[in-house]
Each structure stands twice: as C-alpha cells, then as structure tokens.
C-alpha cells in the first residue's frame, strides 16, 4: 500500500519520518547518497565558492613544484627546437617515440571526462552530477596537452602551418589521405566540442559565482556567464543544448581515439597494421581516462575538502565502471595478441618476441599494472571505496597504459621488414623531461582552473537533489526520481 509523502516544504528540510525504523533508513540514505542528503542551495553555493578562493601554503608549494617542472618542459622544448631532434633518442628506424605515445596517452586520459559526462547524462545517471565538471576539465586540459605533442614532435615546427588548409596561391592543400590529417581534424573537433560542452554547463555556475563575488572576479564572471539570469527559457535552452552536445560529442570522442589509432594501424608497420586498433584504442583510452578521473576525484576531494560532494558511492560507481573497462581492455588486448601469435607471421612474432625478450620488464610491468592489480582488487567494494587503494590503482593504470603506448609505438618500430635495420630505442633526457613536464603542466592548469571555476557543478547537484523524493512502501523508504522528458 502506497502512502504519499506527508509533508510539503523545502526538500532539504524534509523532516525524518516518525517511525524510528524508517527514520534510520532515511538517515542512512542521506549518509550514503548525495542526492538524498539535500542542503539548501545557498549552502551548496557557499561550500563550492569558499574552496575556490582558498589557497594554503601547500597549494603554493604544489603550484611552485608543478610550475618548475612545466618550466623545465618548455626549456627542453626550446632546446630541442634550436638544436634539432638529434638530442632525442630517436633513430633511423624508430622515428616515432614517446612524443607520439604521449599524444595517445594524453588524449586517452582526456577521453573519459567528456564521455562520463555526456554518456551518463544521456543515461540519466545521477552519480555523474558532482563529478561531471572535474571530469570534463581533465578532458579539456588533457586534450590541450595532447595537442602540443604533434607540434613538439615535428622536425620543423616553424612550417607546421602547412598542415592547415589555408587557401593559398599555389592551390596547395594538406593531404586528405593522410591519417595524420584526419587525426588533426578529429582532435580539433573534439577540443572545440568538449570546450563548448563544458562551457555550456558552466554558465549557470559562473553566473552564481558572479552573484557572490566582488571586484575583478565579478567582472570576469559577468563576462563569462554571458548575462545568464536563470529564466525558464534559459534553463530550457541549456537543457536542449546540453543534450544535443552530449549526443554529438560521443561519436566525436570515438573518432578521436580511432583517429589516433589509425595513425598507427594505417601504416604497414608490423605490430601496427591491425584492424582492431580503432576500438582497442578507444577502450584503452577510456580505461586510462576513467582511472585518471578517479585520480582527479581523489585529489580534488582531498585537497578541496569536498567530502560532501564526492562520496563513497561515487568512487564505488567509478570503480565498477573501471572494472568493466579492465575486462573489456583485457579482451581486446588478448584478441590482438592471440591473433598475431596464432598467425605466426615472422615479423609480428618478432615484435612479440621483443616484448617478452629485451623489453620483458616493461611488458610484464604493464601486464601487472593493467591486468593483475585492477582485476584482482576492483571486485571488492571495500577497495573501490577506499581512497588510498583507488589512488594506487589509478596510478598503476596510468603507468601501465603509458607503457603500453610506448611499447606499441616505439617497440613495434624497432622491428621492421628488413632485419638489417632493426634498431632499439632508448629515450634521452628531452623525452623524459618533456613527458614529465607535460604531466606537471596538466596538473598546473588543473590547479589554477579549480581556483577560477566552480569545480563542482552546483546547479546539477542542486537539480538532482531537487528531483529526489522518497516514497514509503510498507516498512521501507525508497527514493524516487522525477526526471522526465
């Protein structure tokens, strides 16, 4: 027998049921679930804005550290431009090295953000609400860092504009048949799309910030919030645009990582020339991307004290997602490996032999990071909801997936058709500096960004909480959702 909610009032003030048992249930629900633990909007606003303005000594130390590494990256890059790519460890057979692996890696970690946000939005998953922006932000900056790498990688950066379709007297256009060109188009589209996607969702929060700030910040947010007033029409349009962009961004996302993988698989290089690379790379990107989002969630929650917004349920949900991706990734990796192994083509075998031979330490470390650890631990809810455990797993997956990319890019190249020309690759200091420096740069951008933009999408949390209700069914209280279209 159904009984409708007895009281009508502000939903954050909803009193506990009289029944002690039911009250315990409701309280428990509030502890567990952000959506049930409603707070007044003003409080949510204040919580978010306060953290935005907060910069302790640790913040500045971290900022200085990341800044120094970033500086090292730019100096290394400058040296490389001046003296030529000779200072890297690349050679006449391995012409692509960690720079391309970094491109794949950074696109990969940037991958999941928008996907989580867009796909979960379309699927009406509530757990996305507090973490959507943190995830989208990593897409934005991950992609921006990734986009640096083709630029860092090329021999003549000063001629890079040849790759752009700029109308010119000689009717010289970029080569539309080149996978690099497709990739450039896909990355650009994704960068624009993700930026738009994030920005649209940011407008109400920017307007909220505007309303609470004074001085230059108020001017900044006034400009950025595009005069948002919160009218019904505006909210409606926001809704339409968000949903539309969610739809658009997902295929673009697939195209990006497929495009990246096609850079490799379209070439006739043994170890690269594989039809599975498109989906395999998409899954790999999601895998490292979701792990990256978990890492960011942990860091944001810890440093900005967002325990209220990011709860065990979120880590649990992301952990389950990660487990699914682990399994999917293993499936693809296995499929790729066994096809080559069973096919027994000499050169494909040579690439595999190298992985279990001279590169064995890296290869097994990769398997440990990507398969053994996640597969062995993520089954447990205790692990999924333990922040330290998830931090370790997240980092290991980053390491594993990075190694996987380097092995695919540089490892494969060191084995080619004429065994006379096999040359192994060892990175030199520029690759190491640039790689670490770019990671720091990503962190730096992220840190600074969190101090300028509400990293929690307050309006989405607010919306979610407002849509929650509870029904009592017999002796149980169940939550209800009222999101309809």
């Amino acid at each position: 027998m159904l009984e409708s909610r007895a009281t009508i009032g502000p939903y954050w003030d909803e009193p506990l049921p009289d029944d002690e048992h039911l009250a315990r249930q409701v309280e428990h629900g509030r502890e567990e679930h952000l959506m049930l633990d409603a707070r007044p909007p003003a409080e949510l606003n204040q919580l978010t804005l306060a953290r935005m303005r907060q910069t302790g000594p640790r913040f500045w130390i971290a900022l200085a550290g990341l800044g120094a590494l970033t500086l090292a990256f730019f100096i290394a890059w400058a040296i490389q431009i001046v003296s030529g790519l000779g200072i890297t460890g690349l050679n006449r057979s391995v012409m692509w090295g960690p720079y391309i692996a970094n491109l794949i890696y950074f696109i990969g970690i940037g991958h999941a953000g928008t996907f989580i946000s867009a796909a979960l939005r379309l699927m009406r998953m509530d757990f996305r609400r507090p973490i959507a922006r943190a995830a989208e932000t990593i897409t934005l900056f991950g992609l921006a860092c990734a986009a640096l790498f083709p630029i860092i990688h090329v021999g003549r950066i000063w001629k890079l504009f040849y790759m752009l379709p700029i109308p010119n007297q000689r009717d010289l256009w970029p080569n539309f048949r080149s996978a690099l060109f497709w990739d450039m188009m896909a990355i650009t589209t994704y960068l624009i799309g993700s930026t738009l996607f994030m920005y649209v969702a940011l407008i109400p929060d920017l307007a909220m910030a505007r309303d609470h700030m004074t001085g230059w910040r108020r001017k900044l947010y006034s400009a950025l919030s595009l005069g948002w007033r919160g009218t019904e029409g505006e909210w409606h349009r926001l809704e339409v645009v968000s949903n539309l962009l969610s739809f658009v961004i997902i295929p673009v996302m697939f195209s990006v990582h497929t495009g990246v993988s096609w850079n490799l698989s379209m070439a006739i290089q043994p170890g690269w020339h594989s039809a599975i690379f498109g989906p395999f790379f998409v899954v790999g990107a999601l895998y490292s991307g979701v792990a990256a989002v978990i890492l960011v969630m942990i860091i944001v929650r810890k440093t900005m004290r967002f325990g209220y917004f990011m709860r065990e349920e979120h880590f649990n949900a992301m952990g389950i997602f990660l487990l699914i991706l682990t399994l999917t990734w293993i499936y693809f990796y296995f499929a790729e490996w066994i096809t080559n192994w069973y096919g027994n083509l000499p050169l494909e075998k040579a690439v595999q032999a190298m992985l279990t031979g001279p590169l064995a330490p890296l290869f097994y470390l990769m398997l440990f990071c990507n398969i053994v650890v996640p597969l062995g631990t993520l089954w447990s809810r205790r692990v999924r909801t333990s922040l330290p455990a998830m931090l370790v797993i997240g980092i290991l997956i980053q390491v594993g997936m990075y190694i996987e990319r380097v092995l695919i890019v540089s490892g494969s190249l060191s084995r080619n058709e004429l065994p006379f020309n096999w040359v192994n690759y060892t990175p030199h200091w520029p690759e190491v500096t640039v790689t670490l420096g770019t990671l720091a740069f990503l962190g730096l951008l992220y840190m600074v960004y969190t101090r300028f933009v509400p990293i929690i999408p307050v309006w989405e949390v607010y919306e979610g909480q407002a849509m929650q209700g509870s029904r009592r069914v017999g002796r149980a209280v169940m939550s209800t959702r009222t999101e309809v279209h």
């Binding site: 000689r170 009717d171 010289l172 256009w173 080569n175 539309f176 048949r177 949903n243 539309l244 739809f247 658009v248 000499p346 050169l347 075998k349 040579a350 032999a353 060191s414 058709e417 004429l418 065994p419 006379f420 020309n421 096999w422 040359v423 192994n424």
Partner: protein, 730 residues
C-alpha cells in the same frame, strides 16, 4: 532549423559523412589538389655549366683515370674516365673521396717550419725562404741526402727525384710505403721473375676466364688495382650465353672477394703454398685436363701431403680434388696470389706456387705490362731490405737531409723497424705532404705539395689491363686552393743552385719536363700528329695509350724444377700465442691515407658495416671460447706489441685466426683520423721474409685476452639478432 530534432541531426550528419567519404575515395586527389613539383627549378634560374677535366687518381697507385666536374672553379665530383683502359669509367670509394683531400680542413696551407720536432707548432714560412732553405740544406747535405717517396708521388716527381739523386751522387730515392708492403709488390715481382723472367707486377684478364682461383688476393677490395679488377669481375660474371664463371677464394678470413666467391676455402695462414702444390699434385696424379696439363703439373709439383693440405683448408680431400679438376679442365683458368700470403715468411714461395698454376693453361689470363716505346717507365718499388739499409744509414748519422714525399714512414713501418729513432738522427727532415701526418709531425719543414687535383703529373700504369700500356695524365682541375707549390717546381728551383743538379735538371718547371716526356711518345689512341696536339690530347683524354695492345705472347714458363711448398714460420710460440694474426687493408681507408677523409671514415666496412673504428674479427666458436661478444674490448698481444680493440664476431674467419683491419690508429693526419682506433701494424715484427728482401708483415701469432671494457661498435647493420624466424628477403 527550429525543429531540428536529435534524430534529424544524426541523419544529416551521417549523410554528410557518407558523401564526403564516397567523394574522397572515388576520385584521384589531384582533382582538388594542384601539385607542382618543387624539384622543377624556377624557369629563370639557369643551372651552371660544368667543366669536366680528365686526370689521374692518386688515392692509390693503381693509376685509374678520372674526370672531375668543376663548377664555378670548385671541383664538385670525381668520376671514372670512361675512355681510360684501367678503370673504364668506374671509380671506387677512395677515388671518389679525393675531393675531401683537396678541401680537407686540416691541410697545411703554406710552407711552415717546426721549431721543435713533434711539437706540432708550425710557423709560417714565405715560399722564397722555404725554397732557399731547401737549397741550403741540399747544398750542405750533398750526397748525404735521402729521398723517400710513396704511392702518392707522381711518376714525374719520382723521375725528377731520381735524376737529382743521380746527379749529386746520392743513393736512388726510396719508393716504399704501407700500400706497397700490403700489395706485396716485392714478392709478386720476385715470383714473376722466378717463373717467367718478368720482375714486374702481374696483370690478369678475368673477363673471359672461366675459373679464377684467388689465394688471399682481395682483388675486388684493396689489392693492386681493385677498380680495374672490379670491371673485369663484372664481365666475368656476365659472360656470353649466361656463363658466369667460377671464383674460388682461398683465404683465412673472408674478404669481399671471398664473399663474392662461389666457394670460399678457409685456408690456414701460411699453408697456401701447400694447397697450391696439392692442387698441382692432384692434377698430375689424376691426369686432369689432359696429358699436357697433367704433365706440366707433374713437373712443377713435388711431394705433397694431400691430407695435410685438405686439413689446412678445413675441407675434405674430395673437395680439393673437385677444385683441382675444375681448374685443370677449364679453358681459361686464372690463379691470383696476393694479400696476406705474400706477406708471410714464405711469401715469395707461396706467390710462386700459386702463380705457377697459371702456367697449366698457358697463362692465358696472366699478362705483364708491356714496356713503353720511350724510356718512360714506372718507377720501381723499393724492397724492405732497402728500407732497412736507409734506416741503418740514418741511425748511423749518415743522412743529413731526408726528403719525404707521398709516404708516411712513421706510420707505414712497424715500430720494430727503428724508424722513429733513425729519424731523430737525421739533421733535417723536410716533408712535402699535404696534411700533417705522423712523419710530417717529426719534420723540421713542411713544404706542402699541391694535391693531385691541383697539380701536374703522370703515372705509368702498372699493372696494365688487357696488355695496354698506359701513361695516365694528371693536370690541375682547379687552381691551388692554398698557398702551396708543386714539389717538382720547388725542387727544380732549389736544384739550380747546385751545379751538378742544375745540369741534370735543366727544365724551367715541371710542366716542361712532363711535356717533354709525353711528346716523345708516338701517336696514341687519341691521335695527334704534332707535339702540340699530342700534348693537348694527352690532357684532354686523360692519358696516352696505343690504339691496340702490342702483340705479345702469353708468358712462357722459364723456371724448372719443383715448387717449394713448405709452410710459413710465425713469430711466437703456438702455446703462448694461440691465434694467427691476419692483417688486411681496409677496403675504404686503404693503407691509412683514407682515414683523413670523412666520406671514407663514415662509409661502412662492407662485411662488418663498422665505420670510424678498428675492430678485431673473431670466429663465433673462438669468441664463445673466449667469452666475448660484439663490442667487448680485448687485448690482442703479439711478441712485438699489443692493441686494445673491440670484438666483431665474424662468421667468415678460421677459428684459429683473428683479423684486424689496418688504416686507423693515427696520432696525426687531421681531425678525422687522429686518436681513432688502433694501428695493428704495431703487432708485427720488422723481420725480413725467407728471401731476405720483403717485410714479413703477416707472420705474427697473437693471444687474445678479454678486458673488462665495452665499446659500442659503430655498425650500420642492426645489433639485434633477428633469430631463426626472420629470413633474408632474397
């Protein structure tokens, strides 16, 4: 667009994408992309007109004809002279690199004086002062002058030096360097003299040969006249009706000639005479090739232990028999002796034994350079015994002035020769070499000659090909690049002050001398009825040679009696020094001159693909026993010295032999050569061979000790073992 639903949007995008893809695939991209190849130079840009000058290559003594492309006064490319009878338009790596001698950054740019020998601090000297100094020293030294020339000395300069020495009563100039030692010109001439009464270098016609047995002669690599032999070899491999000939190479370490051989026979160092004798013995015993040939073989062959010969070759006796049969039954077989076997203690005997094989088939492939119609002749090479005599005279203080041109005795001789100490006893040393080499570093004056691309000269070619005598012309293709003077002119000027010499050297300059020599020749293939035209044609066509080879019979066997097939003796006890040392000239660096040229340093050695370095080649079995692999540094020690070199595990070498290339290990010779690799000649003693004339440079045994060091080999080839699965793609 107000009612654009999600579904519509997707439809439109899908359709758009599909259209784009279809359109993109269906058409050639040129439809949208106008491509203009940048390789087409702008129309208004005129390419320069090159001048081609014919001259003679002096990177080795073979005397190949070259044509040099000159644009805007710069020599930009050297190619083979297509008319030249030696190299017939082709040119080896060393010949191509002559440009880097001309434009070498480390050339001596003018006459210099060195205050303290070996200090390498040079003060510039004005040329009139330099010539004056030369005159004063010549005048003071009188008969106590010694002249040392080498491969890089032009024929005309050898003539001028000889005339000078004769006029003042000094001993004849020495012509000796590492090239002549490694080519074993002494042993070859001695053997030819003994067998055929011809004390000159042998020429071989390989183009029509059906069987070539080469004993140690790397005639495609760095032996005698490799480019000429290369041309012959190309024709040998593509004879009429698809015949490709049979090449068998007998040598302890595979050379590139061995790599091209149909059969490579790893003969033990020093046992070559035995194997040649065994082949003769088998031919005689089995009656291969008919009664006449077998009879001749019987006359030549003494008692030979056939099993020992087969064992020394690491092949079954049956194979040796098959090889003997192939040789004896061939219509035009050729046997070529050379390389390390000629530098063994039994060098002359070994060369003789191999060369004698030619006699079986009437020596059809063997020929000797015919004499020229005038007195012009190739300057002879000195023997090592003569070098020893000069070193003794120098040590005894009997030489007051030493002139060095085109040779580098300090590098070219083993340290045991005592050359360094001997030089210290010479009052004045004057070098004419273009770079500061090891000898110039000990000289008091360097009066640099022009390089061969800037200077005049000629070369009487030896050995000649196809019986065609050739005087190859050398002329300046560019103006002198530095303030350097031709040694011929310097000598003629200085000699004017010495009455005896002035009478013997009446020419105003060296060109007058050369012209006189050349115009005395009769009309050659390039024509020219009067002197003027003949002189011009000589330069234009790159030399003088008759239209057809003079009639000459195949060499007649003069010698009687059986061949000496005793094995060679080696320095060092086998128990203490378990390995034979096989030295070989690098295909690229030659006797070491090439080390100053980056193109030759940077080009990979054909068999090991190593560049810029010295290495020791060790058989895989031996390497395993020694516990060494590629790049492990080992100490190679003989009774005479030791070098430390990285290992190259080389499948084509006998397990009881280690091989080291020569050419590196310079202490001077410019930035590209200095302090690079090791000079394995330091492992060799300075002893004479059995006949007491030639340096036994291939007679050392060594031991090899692993050091706890590594040196990455600069290999072009992959350092990764591809494993069993990967097959060579051809």
């Amino acid at each position: 667009m107000t009612h654009l639903t999600r579904r519509d949007f997707l439809k439109v995008s899908a359709a758009g994408t599909a259209t784009a893809i279809l359109a993109g695939c269906a058409q050639e991209t040129e439809r949208w992309v106008a491509l203009e190849p940048y390789v087409r130079a702008p129309e208004e840009q005129l390419a320069g007109i090159p001048n081609w000058y014919a001259s003679t290559c002096r990177m080795c003594p073979a005397g190949c004809g070259i044509i040099v492309r000159v644009m805007n006064g710069r020599a930009v490319k050297i190619e083979g002279n297509p008319e030249h009878p030696v190299n017939r338009g082709k040119l080896c790596a060393r010949g191509q690199s002559g440009l880097q001698l001309l434009y070498n950054p480390d050339r001596v740019t003018g006459a210099v004086r060195q205050g303290e020998r070996g200090s390498r601090k040079f003060e510039p000297l004005a040329w009139n002062e330099a010539i004056n100094t030369l005159y004063e020293k010549l005048d003071a030294a009188d008969q106590a002058v010694a002249i040392w020339t080498g491969s890089a000395t032009s024929g005309h300069l050898c003539d001028l030096f000889a005339r000078y020495a004769g006029a003042v009563g000094a001993p004849a100039p020495l012509r000796y360097d590492l090239t002549s030692a490694l080519n074993s010109v002494g042993a070859l001439a001695a053997a030819n003299n003994a067998l055929f009464g011809q004390a000159t270098l042998p020429g071989y016609t390989l183009a029509q040969a059906d069987v070539i047995f080469s004993f140690g002669a790397d005639f495609l690599g760095a032996w005698l006249s490799a480019t000429g032999f290369g041309v012959e070899f190309g024709q040998f491999r593509s004879q009429r009706f698809g015949k490709r000939g049979l090449l068998v190479q007998f040598e302890p370490k595979m050379s590139i000639t061995g790599a091209k051989a149909d059969r490579w026979v790893p003969v033990q160092p020093g046992a070559e005479a035995l194997v040649a004798g065994a082949l003769l013995r088998i031919i005689a015993d089995e009656g291969f090739g008919g009664a006449e040939r077998a009879g001749l073989a019987a006359a030549l062959a003494g008692e030979v232990d056939l099993d020992a010969a087969a064992a020394a070759c690491d092949v079954p006796l049956a194979d040796l028999v098959a090889l003997a049969r192939a040789f004896a039954e061939a219509e035009r077989p050729v046997a070529i002796p050379g390389g390390a076997l000629a530098g063994a203690s039994n060098g002359v005997a070994a060369v003789t034994a191999v060369q004698a094989l030619n006699a079986l088939a009437g020596s059809s492939g063997l020929g000797f350079t015919p004499a020229l119609p005038t007195a012009l002749a190739a300057p002879g090479w000195s023997s090592y015994a003569e070098v020893q005599a000069l070193v003794e005279r120098m040590s005894a203080g009997q030489v007051r002035l030493l002139l060095v041109h085109g040779a580098n005795p300090v590098y070219d001789l083993p340290p045991g020769s005592g050359i360094a100490d001997a030089l210290a006893q010479v009052e004045t040393i004057i070098s004419f070499n273009p770079l500061v080499d090891e000898t110039s570093a000990l000289a008091d004056y360097i009066l640099p000659d022009r390089t061969y691309l800037e200077g005049w000269g000629y070369e009487v070619v030896q050995p000649a090909f196809r019986g065609l005598p050739v005087v190859s012309s050398q002329q300046p293709v560019v103006g002198p690049f530095h303030d350097v003077r031709p040694t011929g002119d310097v000598l003629l000027t200085a000699a004017r002050g010495i009455p005896a010499a002035a009478a013997a050297l009446p020419w105003t300059d060296e060109v007058a001398f050369i012209r006189e020599q050349i115009t005395a020749l009769p009309k050659g293939a390039s024509g020219g009825d009067d002197d003027e035209v003949r002189w011009a044609r000589f330069q234009q066509h790159g030399g003088w040679w008759p239209e057809a080879a003079p009639e000459s019979a195949a060499p007649e066997l003069a010698a009687q009696g059986t061949l000496d097939v005793a094995g060679a003796a080696f320095d060092g006890e086998a128990a203490q020094y378990p390995y034979y040392l096989h030295l070989f000239p690098s295909v690229l660096l030659g006797d070491g001159r090439g080390a100053s040229l980056p193109w030759l340093q940077g080009a990979p050695d054909p068999l090991t693909t190593v560049s810029w370095q010295t290495w020791v080649e060790i058989n895989p079995t031996t390497a395993q026993a020694l516990g060494v692999d590629h790049g492990d540094v080992v100490r190679v020690e003989s009774p005479h010295g030791a070098v430390e070199v990285p290992v190259y595990v080389f499948p084509g070498i006998r397990p009881d032999t280690v091989a080291i290339p020569l050419g590196q290990g310079h202490s001077d010779l410019g930035r590209y050569a200095r302090e690079r690799g090791s000079h394995a000649l330091h492992l060799v003693g300075a002893a004479l061979d059995d006949v007491g004339a030639n340096l036994a440079w291939s007679s050392a045994r060594v031991r090899v000790t692993k050091l706890d060091k590594k040196q990455a080999l600069a290999r072009l080839e992959s350092t990764i073992d591809p494993g069993e699965d990967i097959h060579v793609p051809f």
